[in-house]
Structures are given as C-alpha cells and as structure tokens.
Amino acid sequence: MGKPVHPIHRPLSRREMLGICKCGFGSLAMVSLFGSLLPSCSGVADGKENLLNHLGGGALPPGFVPKAKNIIFLYMDGGVSQVDSFDPKPRLALENGEDPAKKFKMDATQFGDVGKILKSPWDFHRYGESGMEISDLFPHIASCADDLALIRSMVSNFPEHTNANYFLHTGSGLQGRPSMGAWVNYGLGSENNNLPGYVVLDGGLIPPGGLDNFKNGFLPAAYQASLLRAGAEPLANIKPIDSIAGIQEDKLAFLRERDGHLLKTLDGADAIEAAISNYELAYKMQSSIPELTEFKNESESVKKLYGLDSPDPNTRNYAAQCLLARRLVERGVRFIELTCPDIGGGADRWDQHSNLKKGHENNAHAVDQPIAGLLKDLKKRGLLDETLVVWSGEFGRTPFAQGTDGRDHNPSAFSMWMAGAGIKGGTIYGATDDYGYRVIDKPVTIHDLHATMLHLMGMDHKQLTFRFGGRDFRLTDVHGNVVKEILA
C-alpha cells in the first residue's frame, strides 16, 4: 500500500475501504438488526419524524398542552442573599452580633472566615394581596408580588460557583452536559427560522464555568446558545462587510457549493452539515438581528417602564436586555437567559463576601426596575400567559457574616421565584429555619426546578431523553418532581 493520503484528497481504494470498514460492517448489521428494537429515545424525539413528515420542519409538538411557550431565565450570578431579599428572618436582628456556633450546627463555609450573626441591612414589607414579604432591595419587583410564585426552600448540591452553575444550568455539577435551554430546544424546536432557539443575552458577566453553562453537551450542536451582547453590535460581524448585497450572496452560494461537494466526498459528515446550516442561519441573522435590536418602534412609556432612561448605566444595560428578551419572546425564541451586568466598583456579581450592603444595593438597583418592567410589559401584551419568567441564583448566602460585613456561600437554602405562564401568582412555597440557614419544609432541588420548567413547557421530564454513550440521558437525570403546588 502506498503512503497514506488524507481521504479528502482522493477516493478510497478497495483495500483501504475494507480495512477501515471491517468492524463497521458488522456493527452496521447489528444496529439494523437490533437498533429499532432497542428501547430508544421514546417520548419527545419520536414526534420529530412524524411532524417533519406532516409539517415540513419548524417546531415540534410537546407531549401535552404547554402552559408556557417560552422561558426567560433571569440568572442572578453569584448568589443573592435570601435573608436580605425574599426570606425575612427577624431573629437575625435580635441576635445580631452573637456567635452563630452557639446557636446552630454550621457546615464548613467556602472561605472559613466565619463572623457573627448578621442582621439584614434592609427592612421587609408585605406586598400585594398575598402579603408576600419582600425586602427594600427590590421595591419594583415587590410591586409584582401577586404574579410571583416564591420558593423559599431551594437547595443546591454545591457550595462553589462553577459546579453550582453547571448544576443549575445543566442538572449536573460537572462540565459538559447539555444546558436546559438546549434541552428545551431539542424537545420543542424553534418557532423562528431566522433566529436561534436558545439565546443568552450577555449583560457583561459570563458566569463562572464559562460558556459551558450554555452548551449543547451531547445534544446536536444546533441546540447550543447564541450569545448576544447588549449594545450597538450585539453579535460580531452582524453587519455585512460587503457593501453590495449581491456580492455576499454570490460568495455564500460559492461556499455552499464547495461545502456541498466536500459533504458528498465525505458521505454526509455531521460537522460539515452543521457548518453549512450555521452559514445559512448567520446570513439570515444579519437581517433579523438588526431588526430585533432596533428599539425605535418602542414607545417612550415602554422604555421608561424598563428603566432605559435611568441615570444608572447598569440599569440601562439590564433594561435593554429585558426589553430585548421581550422582543425575542415575540419572535418565538424558546429559551432566553439574561446574565448580570458588570457593575464594577469591587462588587463582583451578587457574590458579596464583603461589603454586602453596597454590593447588593448596586446589583439590585441594576436589575430591579428592568425586571419589574419586563413583567408588567409582558402582562399587558398577553405574553405573560405564555412566557415563564424564572429568577434564580445558583445558591444562597449564610445568615452569619463572612468577616464583618459579607456573607459566604450557602447551598442549603436559597430563594427563587417564577412568574407567568401556568404559575399561581402570590404563592409562597417551602420554608427555612429561624435563621434562613437550612430548609425545614418542602425542599425543592434543582432537579425539581427543571422538572417543573419542562412540565410548564408541555414536556414530561422523564420522557425527554437523548441516547448517548449507551444510556438515555435526561436533564433531570434520575431525579426531579414537578412542584405542583405552585402551578395554576
């Protein structure tokens, strides 16, 4: 045999062909014999072929009638302190400055620098007909209290950002699993052919763990998130470089032809097919994205509602993202995640290991009005009937100080809320102990949260499976119960 030449450059010889394929033939025969008989990715994926035959692409039907068609995930990077936001604990004020070790058993903390019991610097008030107690950190969100289903009994498995982020986003604390947005798109497909089905609006901070929080994992590459920046150019190269439209189209046609040729040589390689469809979508996005990010048709009152006129640049930044999120929902994008703005000034996300008061105040100021604006705007337009808004960090914070004026990570209890499609507004679910340190009633795991989100999208989390490495994988692994008590 001659010296090996890369198969792209010339066709295979008969010998090479047999050499490469000797095992493949057998496996192929095996697969065709047994493949169809194996219990396969039953559930949602089955509908795919059925629908493609009937409807020629687009969205896939859910398992049952969905309450929600879209999800907006407001990710509170770093971990908001539950006892300073949505879970009032008067006992902290009474015992402020006392030694927590004498009060309750403590787990090891991330930094070990355990201080005294620290009361919340903010007052709580009751809001809405439900009388939900919310702190002065979130006066605007508080005005939407009757739309929120508040869960005070969230627990996570990880006390550290990176793993907790992976866990929150992918249902596994390890890197590499598909993100929940990817699962949703795998299950339901996109409703808009000119935009990706899973969009992350980058406020300035990519969470610890990086872009792997938004990846497709073992799912097909098309389901990963597309990252859009707030601002003039939300996406690199979104403006065509060629001044004459025809030139770009000719170039693309040429590329398509060459890629198609290569695809034939390689007999349909997955990566090439993905690359071709990426070019196509990118081209479509050059026209759909500028239209999307252009706010000139929005009325002044709407812009004001979101806080686009705020003197705080971080509020303006997050407001633009929230408004963009609504516009994405209008265009049928399934899953939209907003990351936090980089507020600078030593306040690293919501992760206030020191200087809790200033840091939380600045972060809250950036997101409070835009989020409330988003909820109100969605509601007026009827979009809140079919959009699920989820607000959550990756874990909570300790009721005792780190140093003197910070709080350390606490995965044993935190608060989150959901609003919108299928959610029973004004609900408070679960409870923590007197210090807000541990959950004592109706704990909700991240898997339960995912199961509930999928349920609202019309999917049974046990049915949404993907076969990989010989196993049918789920977003919720082998866990998860739908939290029915918060559903309308």
């Binding site: 969205a59 039907p61 859910p62 007026k380 337009r381 009827g382």
Partner: protein, 456 residues
C-alpha cells in the same frame, strides 16, 4: 427436620449463594468431558471425577438450604415442586456419575461409557431446567424475556399503551381505571400468582378484598381495619411498611385515591361521578388521569387534510400540532408588520384549528370576515393590527372563544357590545387601544367574570 423457623430461614437464605456452585462445576465438568473425548488422559479423568463429587456435594448443600428456604412460603406451588425435584435430581445424578467414574478407575473392565453419557446429559438438562425454575420463583416468570427484542410488541399491547385513555372524569370507573393501575404499578410485582407474598393476591376484586395471611385486605368503608391501607400508610421505616425492600412507595396522590376508594365502599363497578367526589379528591383524580393537561376540554378532531395543510404552509403560515397525541392545530403568521397573510386557506383546517396568532401583520377589517367561520377557535391573537370596531362583527360567531388579544388595535368603546356576545370569553386584552378604562361599558365587561387587561 424441624428447626426454629428463624434459624431455618437464616440458613435457607444461603441457598442463592450455594446454588451457583453446582452450576459452575457442572459446566466445567462438561467442558473437560469434551476435552477428554478428543484427548483421553488419566489425569483429566481424575479431575473430572473430582468435579462431579464436588458438584454432588454442593448440589446436596443447595438442596438442603433450598428446603429450608421453601419453608418460608410465599412461592407458587407447581414451580416450587418442579424446582425441588429438579435440584434433587441434579445432586443425585452427579453422585451417580461420580460413582461410575470411581468404578471405572478401580476396575478397568467396567466402562459404563454409554450409561455415563446419558447420565451427564440428563444432569446438565436438569440443571438448566432447575435454574430456570429457580429464577422464575425469585424474579417472576416474565423476568427473563421482559426486555427481549422479539417479545416487545406483545408486552406493549397488553401493557400501558393498550389501555383506554381517559378523556373525562365522569366516564371513568374508579376501580378499573384508577385502583387497578395503581396496584399494578406498585404492588402486583410481588403479590401475584407466582410470588404470592404474604399469601395476598391482587389479581381480582375479590382477592384484593380477601387479603392474605393477616386480616382482610380491604374492608369496604373501613380504613382502620383494611390491612392494605394500613400497610401503605405506615411510616416508611416501619417493618411492615409496603412496598417493602426499598421499592418505590405509593405517591400521596395514589394513596389518596386508594383511601377514597375504600371509604366509598370499595366498589368494583362504580363510575367516579356516581360517587360524588369532593373538590380535593377530584383535583387528585384529575391530576392522576392527567386531565389537567388537556387543552380544549372534550374537543378533538380528525387529522387535518394534508392538501389543505400544505396550502396553509405554502402561504407562509407556521403550523404546529398542539400536542403529540392530538390532531388539533396552532397556526401562527410571522408577519413582522410587512406581510399580509392569506386567511382564506385557513378554512381547509377549520376543524383542527384552535389557536390562531395573527400578531402584527397589517390585518384590515375586511380580512376578518374570513375568521368568522373558524368556529373552533378558542384562542385568537389579533394584537397590533389596524383593525377597528367594524371589523369585529364577524368574530361574534366564534362561540368557543376563550382568549382574545386585541391590544394595539384601533378599537373604541363601541366594540364592547360586540365583545359581550362571546359567551365563553375568559381573558381579553385591550391595552393600548382607544377603549377607555373605567368607562361604563368596560365595567360591563368586567362583570362578565372575565379577566380584562386594559390598564393605560
């Protein structure tokens, strides 16, 4: 042989440990026989005879422990006696084979080769059958073939797929449609003809009521004396809690349904509606039958005509099935404000069309005439279109409409009398229109028990 029952069970439970020894030894002996047949050797013969002796001994041990284990009861009689006889046969045959070898080695005149061959074949045959019976006793007879690729179709048709799908609560039978599936899911794997744990069978209504070793299984109308209910509602770490051995317990929902069934008299043939369920149990049942997942209560249509469907798709509409199992359709037009949909094609899928979204696509009053005949619509979005009060007239024919979004249109207070003609309307969006909130007409709307979103 009468040991103290606990001791006998303690020894008996070593049975699964010992039974695998003769299986391995026999198989190995068989292999050596084949080698011996090709290349006879004295040494090999010694080894083989030793193997048969060991097989006979471990077989005897298995038989003894097995007899002790079987005193624990709860096994299907026929299979048990087959297994018992088979096991004894294996031990005895092994011993005979060993003796025949010893005789041959001591006295070279006797060969017994034909006899021994028959004995070996029978020993191996007995071992295979006995092993299978033993497996059936512990795991159930369907255990081995349950996941076999060829048996799949059968198990599916007899299993969940074949069962009738409950569409409304009133027509469902409590025992047949709820109680039986719950018992099937959580209890029958041990309480069946083959395993009979606690002598309690759950195959028929009579058996469920009758109970097993202890008190009656179910006493109609009396939770306190119903052993079945007592066992499933004990604390999970209780010795008598069912299902035992760490198997998945019944959910609160399942427990509540069984509880209600017993309380209402544990009937065999009684419709749920006839038992007058209260609000709480009704919610449980609705959730159990997954009726809360229904979109349009009690409405289903035949599949859409493919030609009509293709026509709709060709006109740029996006068509989605409401769910995988339904034929109902949701249709959307992504106009982005500069394209006009051709609404006439929708007539072809009128039967299936329940959700229609025509947001922001420059609809004019005249075009709404074509919506008047889409009488199965229950959700309609016409927001952000330049339509006026005149255009709404044809919509009064949409008697099933529950949701109507009209925000961002040119409607005025004059539209309100028309909107009140929609009898089932539950949610109405009139934000960003010329309808004046708080005016006499709009309060008329809010009286109709519908949610009105109109704030300025």
């Amino acid at each position: 042989m009468q040991l103290n029952p606990e001791l006998s069970l303690f020894i008996g439970r070593f049975h699964p440990l010992f039974v695998h020894l003769p299986i391995g030894l026999l198989s190995f002996a068989l292999v050596l026989h084949l080698v011996q047949w090709k290349r006879p050797s004295e040494l090999l013969q010694e080894v083989v005879s030793l193997l048969w002796l060991l097989a006979a001994l471990s077989g005897g041990l298995s038989v003894l422990t097995g007899l002790l284990l079987s005193q624990g009861g709860d096994y299907e009689n026929q299979t048990l006696s087959n297994h018992k006889l088979g096991g004894i046969a294996v031990a005895v045959l092994s011993l005979l084979i060993y003796i025949s070898y010893r005789l041959k080695i001591r006295n070279r005149r006797f060969d017994f080769s034909m006899l021994r061959f028959i004995l070996i074949v029978s020993a191996v045959g007995c071992m295979l059958m006995t092993g299978h019976w033993g497996g059936s006793l512990t795991h159930g007879s369907s255990y081995l073939t349950e996941y076999a690729p060829f048996g799949k179709i059968d198990s599916l048709t007899t299993g969940t797929v074949g069962k009738t799908y409950i569409r409304e609560l009133d027509s469902a039978y409590l025992f047949e449609d709820a109680v039986v599936p719950i018992l099937q899911a959580k209890c029958v794997s041990c309480h069946n003809q083959e395993k009979k744990k606690g002598d309690y069978l759950l195959g028929t209504h009579a058996e469920i009521l009758a109970g097993g070793k202890t008190s009656p299984g179910v006493v109609p109308g009396n939770l306190a004396t119903s052993e079945l209910y007592r066992r499933i509602s004990l604390p999970q770490d209780h010795k008598e809690f069912m299902p035992t051995d760490g198997k998945t317990p019944l959910t609160e929902e399942q427990k509540a349904i069984l509880e209600w069934w017993i309380e209402t008299g544990a009937h065999q043939q009684q419709k749920i509606s006839a038992l007058a369920p209260g609000v709480k149990i009704k919610d449980r049942l609705i959730s159990f039958f997954q009726l809360d997942r229904e979109a349009v209560e009690g409405y289903e249509a035949a599949p859409a005509n493919p030609t009509a469907l293709r026509l709709v798709l060709e006109k740029g509409f996006q068509v989605n099935l409401l769910t995988k199992t339904s034929n109902l359709l949701e249709v959307k037009f992504n106009g982005n404000g500069n394209e006009h949909p051709d609404l006439s094609v929708l007539q072809g899928i009128n039967e299936q069309l329940v959700w229609l979204q025509l947001e922001n696509c420059q609809l004019k009053d005249e075009q709404l005439n074509q919506l008047g005949s889409l009488t199965n619509l229950y959700k309609l979005n016409l927001n952000r279109n330049p339509i006026t009060d005149q255009g709404l007239k044809p919509l009064t024919g949409l008697q099933k409409l529950e949701y109507l979004n009209l925000y961002g249109t040119k409607l005025t207070n004059d539209a309100i009398p028309l909107l009140t003609q929609l009898p089932l309307l539950k949610k109405l969006y009139l934000w960003d229109t010329n309808v004046k909130p708080g005016s006499a007409d709009s309060t008329m709307l809010s009286k109709k028990q519908l949610e009105l979103v109109i704030e300025p």
